[in-house]
């Protein structure tokens, strides 16, 4: 049981990444493979700031702002040069961005260096019966749920949300109706950048290396496809289930050693289910 609860921490992080992926897909019509890569760079900058004596919280806020700015820059590139491209081309562009960001990160922060990431909430923990609940679990879960609620309100309840959904469907039409597409889309990218950076900050003390952090996009994607790249609620549920399964799998002996398989199995099952009737491609 303790392990399952510990898995909630991972689940919360996956959920944050997942809902951000859903948001940029719904508003920007792109699968942003580079999302965690930008956040990883910001988190390494954070570790450098802490090393230079900046306060923990100041560094964290700086990292979140930097994460938002990098993502906004990506969003600008996307709307400026690829507004007419299809989803596949736009998503391939983010792979180019991801590779560029890995290059920049490993250039500034080479492998051999040692980087310290502040663990924020692990000192806080309390017991509920036999179960230990750490601060990280609470922080990641509440961030995930809070962010999803915020995004849900933003998309469903505000005028901005209507504009955002219009932008995703028909950027040119929205532009012709007087919506400043570039500004709106850039704003959304910035929001996803900030939230993803927050998620990466939570796991950085455990995962540490650039590939480990950047590839968190995979469980994030698994969660997002459980929600069909659309439903925030199902994305959060998918993420938490995946997080708990991965944690529980540690008890399963041999199978536990192949935990990365779980994300692949989940992605495959969710996508095949969603696409089960798609015998033909969209081209007619």
């Amino acid at each position: 049981m303790n392990q399952v609860v510990a898995g909630l921490a991972g689940g919360g992080v996956y959920a944050l990444i997942g809902v951000c992926l859903v948001l940029s897909y719904r508003v920007g019509a792109v699968i942003n493979f580079a999302q965690t890569f930008a956040a990883t760079l910001s988190v390494f900058i954070m570790s450098e700031l802490v090393k230079h004596g900046w306060g923990t919280w100041v560094s964290i806020i700086a990292a979140i702002v930097i994460g938002a700015l990098i993502a906004a820059l990506q969003g600008l590139i996307m709307t400026r040069f690829f507004s007419d491209a299809n989803v596949l081309i736009r998503s391939t562009v983010t792979i180019g961005m991801a590779i560029t960001l890995v290059g920049i990160t490993t250039r500034i922060f080479p492998d051999r260096g040692r980087y310290e990431f502040p663990s924020l909430f692990n000192t806080v923990h309390f017991k509920l019966g036999d179960v230990t609940i750490t601060g990280t679990v609470i922080a990641s879960l509440s961030l995930a749920v809070g962010a999803s609620l915020l995004i849900w309100v933003l998309l469903a309840k505000t005028r901005l949300g209507i504009i955002l959904r219009a932008v995703a469907g028909r950027p040119t039409t929205a532009e012709l109706m007087g919506v400043r597409t570039t500004r709106v889309v850039t704003l959304v990218w910035a929001i996803t950048g900030a939230l993803t950076t927050a998620a990466i900050i939570l796991v950085a003390p455990v995962r540490r290396s650039v590939p480990n952090l950047a590839l968190l996009v995979i469980p994030g994607l698994a969660a997002a496809v459980v929600g069909s790249m659309k439903s925030l609620r199902l994305t959060v549920i998918g993420a938490i289930v995946l997080g708990m399964l991965e944690s529980k799998a540690l008890d399963w002996g041999t199978i536990g050693k192949y935990r990365p398989m779980l994300a692949f199995v989940l992605v495959t099952a969710a996508l095949l289910w969603a696409q089960r009737k798609e015998t033909w491609d969209e081209a007619r």
């Binding site: 493979f33 299809n86 562009v93 180019g96 890995v102 192949y258 990365p260 994300a263 992605v267």
Partner: protein
């Protein structure tokens, strides 16, 4: 022209002429051979990475599939090669072949997923697949990686770095040439068809699942060969870190940047991803800069349309055909509607009985009966939303559940897939242009025919439809002519019945009149019936021996063009009730 689609054509005539790519290839080979000590390892890397880039570039560039796990495929072969090297001493080339084959099951798994998952979905699932494979390597270390240097991992005669480079480079060239050879066959060209439209591919009688699975098997094999070569490159000391998903992403970025769907692109991608970082290292510049460059280069290539650097090189420019257009064959003596109805007096070749299609509560078609007699042109007209497109989709196999029955030559075809129906002799064209710009006119027609046409037969067909010569690239053909080309390709397979879906859309008046005349001659000249679905009533009246009018999913009228177009119900359906009183008796051309 052949040079253009080959990228590198090493046919005898080009070797003799020493074309630019051949010379360049020789220069690169010699440079690699003469490379000093430490650069030799870089040269090996260039050749092996080139293979992986070819594997991933082939899928993206030729088939339009984005798979993010080329190194996952390669890793499986590396593991098997390492295992064979440790446990079974057999001839090196036999081990390499077995190791390369080991990647095929993984290719089939991913290819199977690609039958339903397309575009970004395939990208997502392959990224997760790559990560999952690495978790296997983390548990099962590469055999012999601990005591690596003790064993020989290279074949006899190729043990030095210099000779191993020669071996890897030759294998890269051989694989590249084999891919070009395969790419020019019908199976290879069908990859391009799948890239543009799966429906059009199936309608050409090609099985989309087979085409995709073949593409993934070929891609996995190429990655597999690269994986097997890794063992000799690192003399056995391989670890799972060589196959991380990040590496796969970098190779995908490099192959998008240069467009590594052909040998020339693959060599370039290999050189860029090995030699450039090495040169940076030697000059004490950070080796991460080239990687950033690939990312940015890929973005730049995509913003220019996605062909990659190699497609902009002068040697890749297709050349306009220099041969004269085929002469039109003499028109058949007096093909009149009398004659076509005479040949068509027999049994219907296609019988549609009680055809019904529902979309939820809406009945798009309700018990439609239609007979297509042998050797006739049957026109189907109707206002927008009458059910014409649903009719053609249901008959040609693109709508899963429909009511009623369809028989072709007396045999029920309701259980056949779209591909099966096309193979049985029921072909169609599409409203949207589906000609493939990368192919030539002749290649496009060959793609649609199970047995290649003789040159004379092909020329006659092209002349009949007034099309450009067979070696003209389709990218040089105007849109209207491309539509006629699609009709020609459909007819070239000698179907029993050809459904032409608005073939005159986008044609000028002159072109449309000529097309009408040609369609009218099709049954007598090619022995197949035609179902012509068109908005251009004048064209339908000119070409058809009978016309069926659809309205609100049912048959409104049926008969000879004169009868049908004089029918006040038909005029009402097209123009609204109020005009019937004044124009009810008007002739065809006035209605239009």
């Amino acid at each position: 022209m052949k040079l253009a689609d080959a990228g590198f054509d090493l046919g005898p005539q080009n070797i003799k002429r020493l074309t630019v790519p051949t010379i360049l290839l020789i220069v690169i080979g010699v440079a690699g051979f003469l490379a000093p000590g430490t650069l030799r390892f870089t040269a090996i890397t260039a050749a092996v990475q080139g293979l992986v880039a070819l594997s991933s570039g082939m899928l993206f560039g030729r088939v339009g599939l984005l798979a993010l796990c080329p190194l996952g495929f390669a890793g499986l072969s590396t593991w098997v090669m390492a295992w064979l090297t440790v446990h079974h001493r057999m001839p090196w080339f036999a081990m390499m072949a077995i190791a390369a084959l080991a990647a095929v099951p993984a290719g089939l798994i991913v290819g199977g997923l690609a039958l339903r998952l397309r575009g970004v979905n395939l990208a997502i699932v392959t990224l997760a697949f790559g990560a999952a494979i690495v978790s296997i390597f983390a548990q099962h270390k590469f055999p012999g990686s601990q005591d690596a240097t003790k064993r020989s991992t290279r074949p006899w005669g190729f043990t030095s770095d210099r000779m191993y480079f020669v071996l890897c480079f030759l294998i890269l060239i051989a694989v590249g040439i084999a891919l070009e050879w395969f790419g020019r066959r019908r199976a290879g060209q069908s990859w391009r068809a799948v890239r543009y439209s799966e429906r059009a591919t199936a309608s050409a009688g090609l099985s989309v699942p087979q085409v995709k699975l073949k593409a993934f098997v070929v891609s996995a094999l190429m990655s597999g060969v690269a994986g097997a070569l890794f063992v000799g490159q690192y003399k056995g000391g391989v670890s799972e870190t060589s196959f991380l998903p990040l590496g796969s992403l970098a190779i995908v970025a490099a192959s998008v940047m240069v467009g590594s769907q052909s040998l020339s692109g693959a060599v370039m991608a290999g050189l860029l991803s090995s030699l450039v970082p090495e040169l940076f290292r030697r000059n004490h510049w950070a080796t991460q800069y080239p990687q950033m460059l690939f990312g940015l280069g890929a973005i730049q290539a995509l913003s220019k349309g996605g062909g990659g650097i190699s497609s902009t090189f002068p040697w890749r420019m297709p050349r306009r055909s220099t041969s004269p257009p085929p002469a039109a064959p003499p028109p058949l003596a007096n093909v009149s509607s009398d004659m076509s109805s005479a040949t068509g007096s027999g049994v219907p070749v296609l019988q549609i009985r009680g055809l019904g299609v529902r979309y939820g509560a809406l009945a798009a078609l309700a018990s439609v009966d239609l007979d297509v007699p042998a050797g006739t042109v049957v026109g189907v007209i109707g206002p927008n939303g009458a059910g014409k497109s649903t009719l053609i989709d249901a008959v040609t196999g693109f709508i899963a559940g429909y009511g009623g029955s369809i028989t072709l030559d007396g045999v029920p075809i309701d259980r056949l897939s779209a591909t099966g129906r096309a193979q049985a002799g029921l072909r169609r064209t599409f409203q949207q242009g589906r000609a493939i710009p990368e192919l030539t006119v002749g290649q496009f027609i060959t793609l649609a025919t199970p047995k290649p046409l003789a040159a004379a037969e092909l020329d006659e067909l092209l002349g009949f439809f007034g099309l450009p010569p067979a070696d003209e690239p389709i990218s040089f053909v105007d849109v209207g002519t491309r539509r006629i080309l699609e009709v020609a390709a459909c007819i070239a397979s000698r179907p029993k019945v050809a459904f032409l879906d608005e073939p005159a859309a986008g044609l000028g008046h002159e072109q449309s009149v000529v097309l009408g005349q040609r369609i009218k001659e099709i049954p007598a000249r090619f022995g197949c019936s035609v179902v012509l679905i068109e908005h251009d009533v004048a064209l339908v009246a000119q070409a058809s021996s009978t016309i069926t009018v659809l309205d609100f999913g049912g048959v409104l009228a049926s008969g000879t063009p004169e009868e049908v177009l004089a029918n006040p119900l038909v005029t009402a359906a097209y123009l609204g009730d109020e005009v019937v009183a004044t124009t009810g008796n008007s002739t065809t051309s006035e209605v239009v």
